[in-house]
């Protein structure tokens, strides 16, 4: 079966004044259906850049990037927004919830852009929050929730339009170890029970090895060969 995500010699360069920053400099990886992949590497290694490219938040400078067979480089910005809306669910280190909206409204936001009618949006947001163990917290706003609770809201939001691919960028970076373990077991659950493919960026090698099926390590914008990691 073809991989869900496939990159070939993927490059992302930024211009910073006079110099060029090679955030990604020829990365070729493949993510299989149902896989839980850890993207490892120190800060500045390009792992978040790679995740943003897969998420369709950013565009590659060069190289090929296919997600479910679609070439993201060829997509218009509208097509990319549909990719973000339908194909992937993104979970951030800093949660990125809208602080003026309730938990339920945050979860409903991707469905709003997908044109889901309001009653269905409300029902699904309620169900997702319930499944995340946040029943009764729908009306709370993010500042009234703990970090772990906020990340659960974010996961519920990522699942709103039922994507097959979850992209998590340091999802436990702002959480204590006990809460981190809870969030990671939630992701593991989603991977096992609902067959969600997960790509998780982390700098914690131990975490990656404990939860992920496989780890790819990046350094200075390139994949470190298996034997060296």
């Amino acid at each position: 079966m073809a991989p869900i995500v496939e990159t070939h010699d993927l490059k992302r360069h930024y211009r910073m004044g006079e110099s060029t920053v090679r955030a990604l400099d020829g990365v070729s990886i493949a993510v299989e259906q149902g896989e839980f992949l850890g993207l490892l590497g120190p800060s500045g290694s390009g792992k978040s850049t790679l995740l943003n490219l897969i998420a369709g938040l950013d565009r590659a400078t060069e190289g090929a990037l296919r997600v479910f067979g679609d070439d993201l480089a060829q997509m218009s910005s509208d097509a990319l927004s549909i990719h973000r809306r339908r194909t992937v669910g993104i979970i951030f280190q800093s949660f990125n919830l809208v602080s003026t909206m309730s938990a339920a409204e945050n979860v409903a936001l991707p469905m709003l852009f997908a044109g889901v009618p309001r009653p269905e949006r409300d029902r699904r947001a309620h169900d997702l929050l319930e499944a995340m163990g946040l029943g009764g917290r729908e009306r709370h706003r993010p500042p009234e929730l703990s970090g772990g609770e906020q990340q659960r809201v974010a996961i519920a939001r990522a699942l709103a339009n039922n994507p097959h691919l979850l992209l998590a960028d340091e999802p436990t970076g702002n959480l204590d170890s006990r809460t981190s373990a809870e969030i990671l077991s939630l992701l593991t659950d989603l991977n096992r029970r609902e067959a969600k493919t997960i790509v998780m960026v982390t700098h914690d090698v131990g975490l990656a090895h404990r939860y992920a099926h496989r780890a790819v390590t990046l350094l200075d914008g390139a994949v470190v060969p298996e034997s060296a990691s």
Binding site: N52, S77, I82, L109
Partner: protein, 419 residues
């Protein structure tokens, strides 16, 4: 994203910054109030003046003269004023001619202008005046709109007359009102047939100079039918006649047809056209003045939207990350701007109306103290209300389009890094 969802989001966002929203809405409403107020002032003034002129019966009236009888100022070189085309046989202004005028399209009424010198006897006083015949249709037109005392003829068969206030004062200096109901004797000069007439009304003044088209005001006025009787003897043609048309816009056409029949004719149509042009210029100037305030308030919308986008950069990044397209983001902010514009427009029309009423009230108090006629300086027709609100809406959409497309173009990764 549906429009309903966009409106929901926009209202929620506006509600987050109540003070800023309220101030921006106030700005727009002042802009719209000044624009609507100025236009409404222009319309009101136009209604006041043109309306009054229209009612004066001068603009739907054509004065026709037989070429033989043209007065001195009309003679020679004044072809433009109505001498018939060269080569047309001189026509007599007689009852036949009047019937022909009456048969023309759009003609409402035709009557001869009968002016006769009379001797008026009242108690011990005998005075000479000019008497005119007034058609019954002149009721509530021109000089007959307002009476100092009494009113118009009840019918044209009674021997009743109207006096000008000047004449009334000559006869009864202290209290001209007491003349109402009194009888006086009118004798046509150089004849002996007297008739007794009862005074029914006294008129203060006329709005235009004497001799204008349709003007039948004079020192002594009697019903036209009575005047025909008084002046009928030996008359084969008239010096002047008045042709009234259905509405002022037909005046020129009918006037030309009468000229083609070989008569002299003139109307004040050209003067009305000039007055209308002057009011159009006044309207444009007032609209421009009003627009300045609206232009300033539209900058307020731009400012509010730019501020709002700056504050919500991260939120825009989040919306893009979860699948909001550039178009969705643009729509949210455009709806936000148009809600400001719509509310501001409605508030502005209400504000403009209230200010207009207040100024109108003050102006009328002053006018009344000066003894003038009161009226509405401001006219706010329904179409102006609709146009003003629609205009607020459109201006706010235009003002919101720059901030909205700036928001739509934000790079999601940059926006997510923003605190």
């Amino acid at each position: 994203m549906t429009l309903g969802d966009a409106v929901d989001l926009a209202l929620r966002n506006l509600n987050q910054a109540k003070l800023r929203t309220a101030l921006t809405v106030l700005g727009v409403s002042i802009g719209i109030a000044s624009l609507a107020g100025m236009v409404s002032l222009g319309l009101g003034l136009q209604d006041q003046f043109v309306g009054r002129f229209m009612k004066s019966g001068m603009f739907d009236a054509i004065t026709v003269m037989s070429p033989q009888d043209r007065p001195g100022i009309m003679a020679g070189g004044m072809r433009g004023l109505g001498a018939g085309p060269r080569g047309v046989a001189r026509s007599r202004l007689d009852d036949d001619a009047l019937r022909k005028f009456g048969a023309l399209r759009r003609v409402k009424e035709v009557y001869p202008n009968l002016r006769v010198p009379v001797e008026l006897k009242y108690q011990q006083v005998t005075q000479s005046y000019v008497a005119t015949g007034v058609p019954m249709s002149a009721r509530s037109e021109g000089a007959f709109q307002t009476f100092a005392y009494g009113g118009f003829f009840d019918n044209e068969s009674d021997n009743t007359c109207l006096l000008s206030l000047d004449v009334a004062k000559e006869l009864e200096e202290r209290n001209p009102m007491t003349l109402i109901g009194k009888q006086m004797t009118l004798t046509r000069m150089a004849s002996s047939d007297e008739a007794r007439y009862t005074v029914v009304g006294i008129i203060e003044r006329e709005p235009g100079p004497p001799g204008l088209p349709g003007a039948t005001y004079s020192a002594v006025m009697i019903p036209l039918a009575k005047m025909r009787e008084m002046s009928a003897e030996g008359r084969r043609s008239y010096g002047q006649a008045t042709v009234k048309v259905d509405a002022p816009q037909f005046t020129q056409d009918v006037e030309n047809q009468i000229k083609d029949m070989g008569f002299m004719a003139f109307s004040l149509n050209d003067a009305l056209t000039g007055a209308k042009r002057a009011f159009m210029i006044l309207d444009i100037v007032l609209t421009l003045i009003g627009s300045i305030a609206l232009a300033v308030s539209s900058l307020g919308i731009v400012n509010t939207m730019v501020m709002s986008i700056l504050e919500r950069t991260r939120e825009i990044g989040i919306m893009k990350a979860v699948g909001g397209s550039d178009g969705d983001i643009r729509r949210i902010f455009l709806v936000e701007a148009s809600v400001i514009g719509g509310i501001g427009g409605i508030a502005g029309v209400v504000l403009g109306w209230a200010i207009g009423r207040a100024i109108n009230f003050g102006a009328n108090v002053y006018v009344r103290s000066q003894g003038g006629p009161t009226g509405n300086l401001f006219s706010l027709p329904l179409w102006l209300v609709a146009v003003a609100i629609a205009f607020a809406f459109i201006v706010s959409l235009i003002a919101g389009s720059y901030p909205a497309s700036r928001a739509a173009r934000l790079d999601p990764i940059q926006a997510l890094r923003h605190d």
